[in-house]
Structure formats: structure tokens, C-alpha cells
């Protein structure tokens, strides 16, 4: 291998490729590398970014969660309705966490104890929870009464909007959890070889329940921030979020076969998704062509990642 190849296809290959792509985009696309656009870009990936943190755990443990979009909508809804009813934003937040956590817990228990395939379970809860959100709101968006709720999303710290800080914290915390804690290693172990992990004494079902419950809680946070940004609880919010989040994770090198994940990768994946969207709009690419471009980027990114794995000589 030449040293260039080594760099591109090495451990940090994805990051290198990303950096190169970023530089090219920054130089060629007008208005891209401005502070405003960067902040806008980061804000646009807050929901995906936050949810990707726990989706990474889910995928790494060889599971799957399709219900995230519905959970984000449902818990955002819950936050708005509860805070409208009680007049307290805190109560709204708690309501959201309870709802999100509950959905996650149910997912986890059904998957771990009744041993139902995660894809199917969450496909089912995806619909059930969406139904709840619609029933609760009678299918209509619920406006936020207390304007200070908007401040969650509008407030800034050191010139950077709060949601971006929140996302950053999540990246740090979950990166640490993945690499440095028993929880993280057990997650990877379960994904790599569930049978071996069980026989080594890892409580696989508890782990799975925890991962899903965490996913639910994190969705609740994303839901609250989203509601605050769009100043209302929307029963139809975040449809299709699941696929974007999974795409971001996979772009970031998380293996759908379990056992392989890295926070830096996921961050890069999330950014790729955001940048693609951003650049297409900056370049005024026609809506229908955007579909095609989005698909091609996805393909290309995993293809590159695959070359990388092949070069690293991993056995599938």
C-alpha cells in the first residue's frame, strides 16, 4: 500500500475522506463556509445527531429501532401538552421523558423477554406510537402557550444555540460510554456474539432493555428540542427519521451485523447527511434530483467504507 492509500483506507480513513470532501465543498460551494451556514447546518442535524447516539448502541448490539421517529413526535407532543396544561416547562420535560422512556422500555421488554425480532417489534410500536400521537392531538399540531419554551431552542451560549451544545454533550457522553465503560463493551460484545456474551455471564436481556429504554429517553430529549424549535408539538413530526438515523450510523461505520461502532464515525455520518442536504439546497438542485443524489451519496459512502474494511482484511 502506498502511504496515500494507507491514509485513506486506514482506521481513520472515513474521517480523512470526510475532511477532504469538506475542504472541497468549502472551496467550491459559495456561502457554505460561513458562520451562519455552519450554525444552520449543525442545527439541522440536531435531531438526527442526538438520536444517532443511542441508535449506535442499538445497532452495535445487533438490534434495530424503527420507532424513533414516532417516539420523537409523541414525546414532543407530550411535552407541549403537559407544559400547556400545567404551565410549567419542567413538567413538560418530565412528561416527555416518561413517555419516551416508556416506549423504549416496552420495546426492550418485548424484544428481550418475548424474543421478538427487533425490526418487527419496533415496526409495530412505530405505528402504535404514531397512532397515540395522533389520537392525543386529534391529528393536529398543538401550539406552545408559554413563549419561554421556545427559548430552549433559541437561546445561545457563546454564540452557539443551545441545541447544538446539547448534541455536543451527547456525543461526548455516549462516546465515553461506548469506549470506556462496561456498558459499552458489553453492548459491543452482545452484538459481536450474543451467545458467547450470555455464556460469559453478561445479562443480555437486561442490556437490551437498557439500550432500548435509553433510546426512548434520548428520543424524548430530541422531541422536546424539536418541539421548541418548531414552536409546536406535531403528531406528524420526524416521519422517516429512523432511516436517516440508521443511514448516518451506517455511513459512520456502525456494522448492521453488530459488534462494530465508533462515536467519531457516527458524528461524521451525521455531518455527511447534513452537509449533503445543505449543499444541495445551496446549489439549488432540483427536488427530484435530490432523491437521486441522496441515494448515490449513501451508496458511495458505504462503498468506500467497504473498500476500507476489505483493505483491513476483516473476515465478514
Amino acid at each position: 500500500m502506498t502511504s496515500l492509500k494507507k491514509l485513506l483506507l486506514g482506521e481513520q480513513g472515513l474521517v480523512v475522506i470526510f475532511a477532504v470532501a469538506f475542504a472541497i465543498v468549502a472551496l467550491t460551494v459559495p456561502n457554505f463556509l460561513t458562520e451562519r451556514n455552519m450554525l444552520g447546518l449543525l442545527q439541522s442535524v440536531v435531531t438526527i445527531g442526538i438520536v444517532a447516539c443511542t441508535m449506535m448502541f442499538c445497532l452495535a448490539s445487533r438490534d434495530f429501532d424503527l420507532s424513533v421517529g414516532s417516539t420523537v413526535a409523541f414525546s414532543g407532543m407530550a411535552a407541549v401538552m403537559a407544559s400547556n396544561a400545567s404551565g410549567s416547562i419542567l413538567v413538560g420535560l418530565i412528561a416527555a421523558l416518561l413517555c419516551g422512556g416508556f416506549v423504549g422500555l416496552v420495546n426492550g421488554v418485548v424484544i428481550a423477554h418475548f424474543r421478538i425480532n427487533a425490526l418487527i417489534t419496533t415496526l409495530a410500536t412505530m405505528q402504535i406510537v404514531r397512532g397515540f400521537a395522533l389520537i392525543a392531538s386529534d391529528g393536529r399540531a398543538v401550539g406552545i402557550n408559554d413563549p419561554s419554551f421556545y427559548q430552549l431552542a433559541l437561546s445561545k451560549f457563546l454564540g452557539i444555540p443551545t441545541p447544538i451544545w446539547v448534541m455536543g454533550c451527547f456525543f461526548l457522553v455516549f462516546g465515553f460510554v461506548l469506549n470506556r465503560t462496561v456498558f459499552g463493551k458489553n453492548t459491543l460484545a452482545i452484538g459481536g456474539n450474543p451467545e458467547a456474551s450470555r455464556l460469559a455471564g453478561v445479562n443480555v436481556s437486561n442490556m437490551r432493555i437498557w439500550i432500548f429504554a435509553l433510546q426512548g429517553l434520548v428520543c424524548a430529549v430530541a422531541g422536546v428540542l424539536l418541539a421548541s424549535r418548531i414552536t409546536s408539538g406535531q403528531p406528524n413530526a420526524a416521519t422517516g427519521l429512523e432511516l436517516s438515523v440508521i443511514s448516518a450510523c451506517v455511513l459512520g461505520g456502525v456494522s448492521l451485523a453488530g459488534g462494530r461502532a465508533a462515536m467519531t464515525g457516527v458524528i461524521v455520518g451525521v455531518l455527511i447527511m447534513g452537509i449533503a442536504e445543505n449543499v444541495m439546497n445551496l446549489l439549488n438542485i432540483q427536488a427530484f434530483y435530490q432523491y437521486v443524489v441522496r441515494g448515490l451519496i449513501l451508496l458511495l459512502a458505504v462503498l468506500l467504507d467497504n473498500l476500507r474494511s476489505a483493505a483491513a482484511g476483516r473476515r465478514s
Partner: protein, 304 residues
């Protein structure tokens, strides 16, 4: 400076919005400004789209929002990015549901379009000399979309006001907003009420009503025993009128994408370039088009 205007729509795949964009482009050519077209299917996408427009130095934008309750957020975002804001088709509302009157709007109220549909149905029922008691109404519904509810309810209110029996209205909930889903749901309604031989159908758009029409065809109800009136008037409806033999798709209420697209873009341009603020509220009328007059109606509305 160069004028740059954004045009954000909620469902770029819908022909209606393709038309709006097309006519806005005409205005852009005429006046020599740049038009940035962005599709934004949900609240989050709208937010990023506005940021994006701000970042590329646009001075204003027109939006058809995915949800009217997004109002305060959109207004705040526009202000934060120092962008002039106009809405088209759907009018923004506050948290309490009252319209945000500061934002210039061009559109037609969903309820009004619905009422036009209802009126068309009532007129045709009377013309054919049907007894309302013998007629069933298929309400192809997609209740998770508020505008859809408003339109359908608007139509029903006119029907009921003219003595259409409430008991003869049957819900056919579509699982998705495509023709196949409407077709499947309507088929069940028809089969469940095999005794009723004359039908009318309403829905959120042409595709929904077409589904009901197809359903009558599959269960063998003759075209002249069916009156479907859609909303939109784009190709799906025109295709139906072009068919050699008349079908149960009686007519469609066409709203003018030309006015909505061309005029809003023009107004926004004037606002930015010449400081001429547009009317706060412009309501356009829907116009009923039938098999034999659709070409004239379209010409009238300036489409084609």
C-alpha cells in the same frame, strides 16, 4: 444587489407544487431574480431551509408550510435571518389557532375549496334528479392532515345543508395519500353498502377521488351512477377528462397555481426591490372544471 428569493413547499412531489414553482420561475425570468426552490416536508426541514436561505443571502421567501401551527417558529426564524416572509396556499396560525395576520398571504381557505366541491355535487345531484336518500357519499379521508379534514368537512357541510342524510356518508380512511389506498378503502365502503346504487365521492385531492371512482368501476357501478369531484386539476384529473368515455370522475375544483406561484413571487420581488409591501391577504377562488369545459377553465386561470 441581486435579488434572491426562496420558495419553500411542503410536498415537492405533488404536481401542484411543481406548477407553483414553474410559474414562480416565470416571474424570476421576467424580473431577473434568482429563485431558490426547497422542499421541506416537516417542521424541522422548514427551519433548516430558512437558515439555508439566510446563509445564501436571500432577502425573502415564500412558504407553503407543512403545518400551519408552525407559524410562530417560521416567523421567528425568518426574523432571525432577516428575511421577508410571505405564505402561499396555507395560512400560518398562532398557538391558539388564530391566523397570523402580519404575514402577507395568498391562498384559498381549505374549507372554501371544500364548499365549492360540495356545491358542485349538490348541483349535479339535483340536475340528475337523484333522491338524496338513495345516494351514498364516500368520504375518502386522511385525517392526520388538517387541511384534508377541513376540505372534506367543507364539502360535507354543503351536502348536509342541502338535505343529504348524514347516515349515508361513509368514511373510507386511506392509509396513505395515493390512489391505490383510496381505491382499497372505497371498495370496502361500496361492498359494505351493496344496496346503495348511486354514489358521490369527495376527498382531499384528485387522487383520492380517483380512487373512489376506480372502486365503483371494479364493483360494476356504471359511470353515470357516480359523481366524483376532486380538488387540484393537475394531470391526474386532466387524464381522466381525456379518456374517450366519461367516467365517474365528474369534475375537479381547480385552483390556480399560476396566481399562487407567479403572483406571490412577483409580489415578493416588488417588496424586496421596490419596498412595495404586498396585500396582507389575497384570497383566490377555486373554479369548477368539468369534462367539457376544463380547457376553457384552465385557459381562464392562465394555466398553459
Amino acid at each position: 444587489a441581486d435579488v434572491k428569493i426562496g420558495f419553500i413547499v411542503k410536498q415537492p412531489e405533488e404536481p401542484w407544487f411543481q406548477d407553483e414553482w414553474k410559474f414562480a420561475d416565470v416571474a424570476a425570468k421576467e424580473k431577473g431574480f434568482t429563485l431558490v426552490k426547497i422542499g421541506a416536508e416537516d417542521g424541522e426541514k422548514v427551519q433548516s431551509a430558512i437558515d439555508n436561505l439566510g446563509a445564501q443571502g436571500a432577502q425573502g421567501f415564500i412558504v407553503c408550510t407543512p403545518d400551519v401551527k408552525l407559524g410562530p417558529g417560521i416567523v421567528a426564524k425568518a426574523a432571525a435571518n432577516d428575511l421577508k416572509l410571505m405564505t402561499v396556499d396555507d395560512r400560518l396560525v398562532n398557538a391558539d389557532g388564530s391566523p397570523i395576520e402580519d404575514v402577507p398571504h395568498m391562498g384559498i381557505s381549505a374549507t372554501k375549496i371544500g364548499e365549492a366541491v360540495g356545491q358542485a355535487l349538490v348541483d349535479e345531484i339535483k340536475k340528475r334528479g337523484w333522491d338524496m336518500k338513495d345516494v351514498g357519499a364516500i368520504r375518502v379521508s386522511y385525517d392526520q392532515l388538517p387541511t384534508a379534514v377541513d376540505r372534506v368537512e367543507g364539502a360535507l357541510s354543503v351536502l348536509k345543508a342541502n338535505g343529504f342524510p348524514e347516515a349515508n356518508i361513509f368514511d373510507a380512511p386511506q392509509a396513505k395519500t395515493d390512489t391505490e389506498a383510496a381505491l382499497n378503502a372505497s371498495t370496502i365502503v361500496l361492498n359494505k353498502n351493496a344496496g346503495i346504487k348511486k354514489w358521490v365521492a369527495i376527498g382531499l385531492n384528485d387522487e383520492a377521488v380517483l380512487g373512489a371512482v376506480r372502486a365503483t368501476e371494479t364493483v360494476g357501478i356504471a359511470p353515470d351512477s357516480m359523481i366524483g369531484v376532486g380538488i387540484g386539476g393537475a394531470d391526474s384529473a386532466i387524464n381522466e377528462f381525456k379518456k374517450p368515455a366519461a367516467t365517474g370522475f365528474f369534475g375537479t375544483v381547480i385552483i390556480s397555481p399560476k396566481r399562487h406561484g407567479y403572483e406571490t413571487a412577483l409580489n415578493m420581488y416588488e417588496w424586496i426591490a421596490n419596498g412595495k409591501e404586498p396585500e396582507k391577504l389575497t384570497l383566490t377562488a377555486g373554479q369548477l372544471a368539468l369534462r367539457d369545459n376544463y380547457e376553457a377553465v384552465r385557459k381562464d386561470l392562465g394555466i398553459e
